[in-house]
Symmetry: D2
Subunit: 132 residues, 4 copies
């Protein structure tokens, strides 16, 4: 299933930066997480505790840094979501400052049954909502 | 000078929490910083780099934890700002979830001349804007 | 009971700093937490999950910033521990770089029964170990 | 040039974890950074400010999560370093808890001339020291 694109706007905060004067490399994962939270919330679910039984657990994270961003910069975080399988969902991120590309990346989540801490199918209605 | 109250709404993110299942004690300082950023931005300045010459540097931080908050909770961060002297400004925070008090705290900043890294008077127009 | 002093050495990492070029104000709470972990571990307990039933939960945190620290600086974190009551324990911190004072602060923890999420007496043997 | 393997031991701290009870996905980048700092320091340089003129700036970061880790776990962070070009250096990480693999990942750094904020050759002696 091909997913939709969701856009989210966020300012760079002083704690996102480091002594190089720009956003620290792991700081972009905050923007990724915030965008996933807002997207899943817009669908009526909680993140990463999707429902009482199912959690999203991260399998892989990746970020490529194309240009640096500074405190006070306003960033557009564009998220695309796709299902990899019935259990795995992939979020792709493209962060821009105006027309300029800042960071691209992705996060893979696997759905687990939280009580068994074992992989589980994402419930059909949730998968449809997230990837329609 | 007595300062005004500024309110800011923010969701608890998964990275704010720890294995106790609730927001980690240092996580509240992110809410404090975000509220200071939004308040100063609403006045037309950047935070903590107020202008080309003046920076706010933290002198003291404090937080008291009254009730715990969980991922997905929506918090109201209420900020009050007061000048302590011509050089020092104090932000007080009162974080609520609905009517329930979650956290109270404060952050003291001193203004410095960034080139000399020495304390400096907050420019009058900025101090007036922030504490009127 | 008067507590002992425990010393712990740690380097400032790039992620502890922000775009002001020095350690971010909330970064010092990492040093506080690391020192509490090492101290409690040296007594044979885990932190903050003291045993199967008892957790330490933070009531208050405070830090005063006396001098700034830079990436690569080696800091001495000196911790003193005292019992405030049978339920509450206080950790005081004094961070130095050589003879120079960098940061002073404290963290108050209350002991809870984790299953009830209610305050509980710190078990006598643990309180004695931590504050002897 | 084939690089050497450097090993570093670190405990999981409470702030590394989130409400899923295990280390948060971005928390592993702290272990990566700490290992790079210790490795570069063991060679007599600072990280990421290699010398007065040259900085390492992150081009890409990646982590795969194989098993979860909990607060108090002692992890072995194994680092391998290789030069990709005269300007780019790659650090590979393999994190284990005993014999169990927890996380694998890499961080690519490009060397810049900090005054021009432009890519620059890593000085020969430094590249040799880091990748011999």
């Amino acid at each position: 299933m091909m997913g939709e694109t969701f856009s989210f706007v966020e300012d760079v905060q002083i704690y996102d930066t480091d002594a190089q004067g720009v956003v620290h490399y792991s700081g972009y994962y905050r923007f990724f997480t915030d965008a996933m939270h807002e997207f899943v919330k817009s669908k009526g679910y909680k993140f990463p505790f999707i429902d009482d039984k199912h959690w999203f657990v991260v399998l892989e994270s990746n970020a490529k840094y194309l240009n640096s961003a500074k405190v006070g910069d306003t960033l557009d975080i564009n998220l695309t979501v796709n299902s990899v399988s019935k259990k795995i969902i992939r979020f792709d991120f493209d962060i821009k400052r105006g027309q300029e590309q800042i960071c691209q990346g992705y996060v893979l989540h696997i759905c687990i049954d939280k009580d068994k801490w074992k992989s589980a199918d994402i419930p059909d209605n949730i998968l449809n909502e997230l990837t329609k």
